[in-house]
Symmetry: C2
Amino acid sequence: MDISESQIIAEFANVFIRPDSRVLVGIGDDAAVVTTGHRTVITTDMAVEGVHFKREWSSAFDIGRKITAANLADIYAMGALPDHLVVSVALTGNESLEWIKSLAIGIDQEARKCDATVVGGDVVRGNVVTISIAALGHVGTPVLRSGAQVGDEIFLSSLPGWSTAGFHILTNTIDPTSLANAAHAHKALAQFRAPTLDYAVSREFRFAHALCDVSDGLLTQAPQIANASGVKLLFQRSLIEATTDFAELAELAAELEADPWDWVGAGGEDHVMLGTGKKLPGIRVGEVISGEGVEIAGLERKPRGFTHFR
Amino acid sequence: MDISESQIIAEFANVFIRPDSRVLVGIGDDAAVVTTGHRTVITTDMAVEGVHFKREWSSAFDIGRKITAANLADIYAMGALPDHLVVSVALTGNESLEWIKSLAIGIDQEARKCDATVVGGDVVRGNVVTISIAALGHVGTPVLRSGAQVGDEIFLSSLPGWSTAGFHILTNTIDPTSLANAAHAHKALAQFRAPTLDYAVSREFRFAHALCDVSDGLLTQAPQIANASGVKLLFQRSLIEATTDFAELAELAAELEADPWDWVGAGGEDHVMLGTGKKLPGIRVGEVISGEGVEIAGLERKPRGFTHFR
């Protein structure tokens, strides 16, 4: 590496270190020491260049934001709030210091949205850029996938599908500005590069009975809640299609000769919250009934599962 | 991947899940929930195929043990005890289910030595095997690199250098059985593939005034304690050379026409504890005096820093 490991660590430390009364020992020793509550939530997510992101497609800033958002969403998906992150990064040696700094800033800015702090990490050499984050949070009563009850309503913090729409545009090398629906296309691209999550809304899902985030697609995730809870999740096509997001995705899909239901039903990486319960925020999309599995009432064919980027 | 992600996760879960009263929510939801003390120690380490390990050189079991040991050592190096791990793994798709299972067993067995449990993870696709672990532990008073005091003695839990000796044998494609010092060579190879740490001894280093683990070589790590503490670390060549480990490394080095001091001084990845204080276990190797930097009294030339594997 032209840039030394210690130089990179110094850049990272410069971005990440900030006053935080929860951090007793931060970056610079063998490990970090943080104050925690009685119950700590922990999750980890890894992103590999060429599999989860491409440097031609996404800025370092967005790559940093995206992997961080994926981790933070997992914390919220337990009904918890994030506190601390540790970040492992493999770099190839052909990244500029500017690129590396932007990656750190992307991670840091996404973390700051949730008042979370990066407290440690590891920098190594690799043949592709690989980022692994572990996030810690605190929780009172964790909200599991197994808590759905017959009579619950089903809510999404917002509609998934935008990220996969963006992926569709990139894989088909479509010029977004050439489209009649250029604004929608740009929104989809932005969401693919790094989802913009409403963490305040995600936080309100801690009152759900059952909860997960949609990282692998609604029709992959919903059955996990149904199976874990021993219930059936009955979505209403009409409720989903009545949303502004669906209307916009449908307009974009029509222009690209795609099916918006493939994006909404099978698209992952939006990291929206999927919860069952009463009076949750976001979009009400169906109800929990007795039975098993998942059905979208009014939709004849099952949305295609994408051969997804990951 | 021939083997599906869900199959791999099921294999991992089968290896990792065990009764643990500290784990409220384990593998299978969006994140794990564990009970923690007031002060949580957290660290992370990443290992990349071709950089930190080669599948031709090390079994999956040893690869798993090695990256886990690196993380656990960082927890002990804060004067803390490990509790939980999360594991992210990128797999290429050409690993057998047997190989993947052995990797998990290696991680698990190393963790169990310290009564730590794997509570979550992520499995993704990559072009080389990449493993990132984050370890959590608990601590009363963390032992920092900055706590060394003039008058302290310097201790090593055991002598570093064996791992680098093993690396020397592998990079020079030496047949260990052909050597007069075959037993030493096999010990070095084993230590390179996965260091065998004495965690009971490591634990006693929580009574040190200053502490770190030797992951990057004694002469890289010792100056970090000296600088952080504003003192000088004066090692005694005679104390180090009086150890059985040094005698064995010297015998092996003589046969391989290498210098044992290069291995002992610059060799990393043994993850032994380096502490200053009074009456610590292991080997007493010097003392803390006023001044700055590090000196090995009696040694004329500075050990060469290896162009190290990582």
